[in-house]
Structure formats: structure tokens, C-alpha cells
């Protein structure tokens, strides 16, 4: 996989200590944000949730300022005031209004920029409902189960392994013969939601001692197709960088 444009060493640190306050995320700004206002993404290089947003912005050819939050060092004032409830990235600032939660950001981009290619199928409510269901499935299942794979040992790890295999098989069944989860719509909402985890799968394979190509070959094939897509290639990091990052996390949490 080609290295994306932003590598951790070339990104400038996002630590901001300015006193500029961003508005409370729940306050309703009377001026509607126009498509001309600036987009800023507060993110963390390896975050699959942040990468969803990077992929979406690239799919829509929307220019934006990328701001790396050095989460291991601490959270910037801008991040804390933009997402006071969860204090998490990604945060999309449009003008100065924050949008939080990756899948919510993706839907916001679809709706605020209606002239750009959409991730959700724009005019089929049933297909939209299916896409939302499966993106929710990815959200509920993949990261948590994967985390248990690298955090736990023994019986609980075996259980996590079994669950991960089941998740991959379920996703494979949903994908079926389609090129992308978006089906007729093409690369879509579920593809963008799942694509960043393709860089985590090799780590899950190592920890869980299984091969995606064996347990869910359809997903392995999808991973390859999706990896060739420009928006994805530009946004993801090589799997061994992810593996190294997991090692850093384990040290940080004192996990053997």
C-alpha cells in the first residue's frame, strides 16, 4: 500500500493553546454554513474513525485543513472545546461549527454538500436504511472485538477470535457478489465505514491467528479492491504501522 501524503513525522502538532473559543456544539448558529466556509478536520493519524472522514472528503474532492492531534501527548484546547462531551477525534469544523462522531460527519458531508458525490444512495430510502444498518453493525462490532483480540489472552482472546471470524463472515454474506457494499451506488457509506479497518485486519490476523483470506475470502477481495481506491490509499497507513501503534498502546496500558 502506498504511503499516504501525511506521515506522522511531517504533520505539525495540533496542540493549540489559543484562547479562541469554538461555540458550544449544541448551539444553533443562525447563519447557515455555506459550502464556501472552511473545513478543518481534527484527527489522529492512525484513527480508523478519522480515516473515514478523510476518505469521505477525498471522495467528495472537498479541500480541508488537516490538524493532527497528538493524542498520546494530550488534547488541544480546540479539541476539548469542539467536542466537550466526548473529547474525541474526529471533529469536523465547518466554518467554526463542530460536527462530531465519524458516521454523523459522513452524513453531514452528504447533506451539506449536495452537489458532491454522496456516500449514502441519495434517492432510495430503503437502500439508505440498509447502508445505515450495516455501518452501525461495523461500528458496534469491529473495533471493540478487534481490541479484545490484542488486549486479552487465553479463553477470552479465543472468544474474541471466534467473534471476529463471525463478524467477517457476516460482512462477507452481506457483500455477496457486489463490488462494494454500496452495490449499484458504487463505493458508499458502508465501504467508507469499514475501509479503514482493512489496515487493522493484518494485526487482528496476527493476534487471533487466523487468515481473512481463509475465513472470509470475499472480504479479503474487497479489501484489495478498496485499497486501490485513491481516497482510501491516501488516507490509510501501512498495516505494520498499525501493528506498531498497537504495540505502543499495549505498553501504555501496561498490557503484555
Amino acid at each position: 500500500m502506498p504511503t499516504p501524503i501525511h506521515t506522522p513525522s511531517t504533520l505539525h502538532s495540533g496542540r493549540h493553546t489559543t484562547a479562541t473559543l469554538t461555540p458550544n456544539p449544541t448551539s444553533s448558529n443562525p447563519t447557515m454554513a455555506s459550502t464556501d466556509q472552511q473545513l478543518v478536520l481534527l484527527d489522529f493519524w492512525v484513527s480508523p474513525f478519522g480515516q473515514r472522514v478523510r476518505i469521505a472528503l477525498a471522495e467528495k474532492s472537498l479541500p480541508y485543513e488537516y490538524v493532527e492531534e497528538d493524542l498520546l501527548a494530550g488534547k488541544s484546547d480546540r479539541l476539548l472545546s469542539s467536542n466537550p462531551v466526548h473529547k474525541k477525534i474526529p471533529v469536523l469544523l465547518h466554518g467554526d461549527r463542530p460536527v462530531n462522531e465519524s458516521l454523523i460527519i459522513l452524513q453531514y458531508l452528504d447533506e451539506a454538500f449536495p452537489d458532491a458525490p454522496s456516500l449514502l444512495p441519495p434517492s432510495d430510502p430503503y437502500a439508505r436504511a440498509q447502508a445505515r444498518f450495516w455501518a452501525d453493525y461495523v461500528d458496534k462490532k469491529v473495533y471493540d472485538c478487534g481490541s479484545r483480540l490484542w488486549k486479552l489472552k487465553g479463553e477470552p482472546q479465543l472468544q474474541a477470535r471466534a467473534e471476529m471470524v463471525e463478524i467477517l463472515k457476516t460482512l462477507e454474506a452481506e457483500l455477496g457478489e457486489k463490488e462494494f457494499f454500496g452495490g449499484e451506488h458504487g463505493f458508499g457509506f458502508v465501504d467508507a465505514a469499514l475501509a479503514p479497518f482493512s489496515a487493522w485486519l493484518p494485526s487482528y490476523e496476527r493476534y487471533g491467528e487466523f487468515k481473512v483470506a481463509e475465513v472470509a475470502p470475499g472480504i479479503a477481495a474487497w479489501v484489495e479492491r478498496v485499497g486501490k481506491r485513491d481516497s482510501v490509499a491516501k488516507s490509510l497507513y501501512a498495516p505494520d504501522k498499525v501493528y506498531d501503534f498497537i504495540g505502543v498502546l499495549k505498553k501504555k496500558y501496561g498490557i503484555e
Partner: protein, 233 residues
């Protein structure tokens, strides 16, 4: 004419997730067939319609299933966009804010609710879950102040997305209040939410679907827990 095909909702009368869908169907005056599921013995239709989660609610529209309550609510809002009030606002930013708080409700209130009623093994665990729920509700008190702009609901003048999502839990809050001897939504600490609850319960769309009999809820809980315990033996 929006959406051809009949509506059928598979549900359980106590489920916050089912209740919110019923409120929305009522808001839009949509006729539907309601099927009460027995969680101890799920119907073939339920299992076939929602094989992934095997849970309620399931909305069948012309026989096609839509699953996950927040997905269902948005589906109804989109298919019947011209019928009755809109559940989500029109402005993209306001929609993002509504989705944010709806996700927050299910994440923070919902997870605590699960523990305090269904999965806690000790009274300490229950008390801890209650504290978490109260903390989340206090945050929502602030959100209500911001979102409503002084109007009746999170959605403004009429019931919206966050209202139906949170409103689905009110029946259980009444049961928990009885269980712990005090109110989760304490009017002294959450005056706006307390008034909001009254208005939501009184709304036409909530009639008959938001439970108000705490004893009946507690009896349902006892039956469910007993069945669950017998299953795991």
C-alpha cells in the same frame, strides 16, 4: 402517495427502541399492524427479518424489513417526508446535532439502563449504573436548554428525533424510580427535563405507547429475569 405496501411492526411493549418507532408512526398518523413478540420465544418472522441481531423493533414495509430503531425512525421520516411533522430538522447542521444527541442517549443512558435493570449482579452495580444515567441526564438537561431554544421539545415546537429517542425510556424510568425510591429525572436538579417528560407523555403521539404503569413494568422485568435465569442453568 408515499411508500406503497403495508406496515407491520414487531415489538415488545416495554422496549424503548420499539416505543420510539411507535411514537413516530403516530406522529405521522401512519396505520400499521403491531405484533407483540415474546422474547422467550421469538417468532420465525422476527428471526428471519433480523437474523443479525434477532431483536425488536423490526419494521416490515411491504414485507421488507428495516432494523435498528434509529435507522427505522429515519427511514419513516424519509419515506413519508411530506406526511405530518418531520422528525429530523431540515438543516444539515441541526440534523448532525440531533443525531449526535440521539447517539449520546443510546450510548450513555441506554448502556446504564441495561445494567441497572437487566445485567447488574449486585446493588452496588445497580447504584453505579444509576449514577451514570443521572450524569448523562444532567448533560441532556443542558442539551435541552440549547436545542429547544426555550421551546417545548429538543426538536423545538414539535417532537423530534432526540425527543423520541429519549422518550422511549420514560416508561422504564418510572419503574426504576419506584425501585430506587427516588426520581432519575429529579425536578430539583433537572427542571427542564422534568417538564419535558410531562409534555412528552401528554403528547397525542405518545398516548398508549409510552407505558405509565410502573408496577406492570416491574412485573415484566421479574418475568424476563426469571426466564433469563432459567435459560442459563
Amino acid at each position: 402517495m408515499a411508500g406503497s405496501g403495508e406496515l407491520k411492526l414487531l415489538g415488545v411493549w416495554t422496549s424503548p427502541y420499539v416505543i420510539r418507532v411507535r411514537v413516530v408512526l403516530n406522529l405521522k398518523s401512519l396505520p400499521y399492524e403491531y405484533v407483540e413478540e415474546n422474547l422467550g420465544s421469538k417468532s420465525a418472522l422476527l428471526l428471519g427479518s433480523n437474523p443479525v441481531h434477532k431483536s425488536v423493533p423490526v419494521l416490515l414495509h411491504g414485507g421488507r424489513p428495516v432494523n435498528e430503531s434509529q435507522v427505522i425512525v429515519q427511514y419513516i421520516d424519509e419515506v413519508w417526508a411530506g406526511t405530518g411533522p418531520s422528525v429530523l430538522p431540515a438543516d444539515p447542521y441541526e440534523r448532525a446535532v440531533a443525531r449526535f444527541w440521539a447517539a449520546y442517549v443510546d450510548d450513555k443512558v441506554g448502556s446504564a439502563w441495561q445494567v441497572m435493570l437487566f445485567t447488574c449482579k449486585t446493588e452496588e452495580e445497580r447504584a453505579e449504573a444509576v449514577s451514570r444515567a443521572v450524569a448523562a441526564l444532567e448533560t441532556l438537561e443542558g442539551a435541552l436548554a440549547d436545542c429547544s431554544g426555550g421551546k417545548a421539545f429538543f426538536g423545538g415546537e414539535s417532537i423530534g428525533f432526540v425527543d423520541v429517542v429519549l422518550g422511549g425510556y420514560l416508561g422504564w424510568f418510572g419503574a426504576v424510580d419506584k425501585m430506587i425510591g427516588r426520581r432519575l429525572i429529579d425536578p430539583a436538579r433537572m427542571p427542564l427535563l422534568a417538564k419535558w417528560e410531562e409534555r412528552f407523555r401528554a403528547a397525542e403521539a405518545a398516548k398508549g405507547v409510552v407505558p405509565d404503569d410502573a408496577d406492570k413494568m416491574l412485573e415484566f422485568l421479574r418475568t424476563l429475569l426469571a426466564w433469563s435465569a432459567s435459560k442459563s442453568k
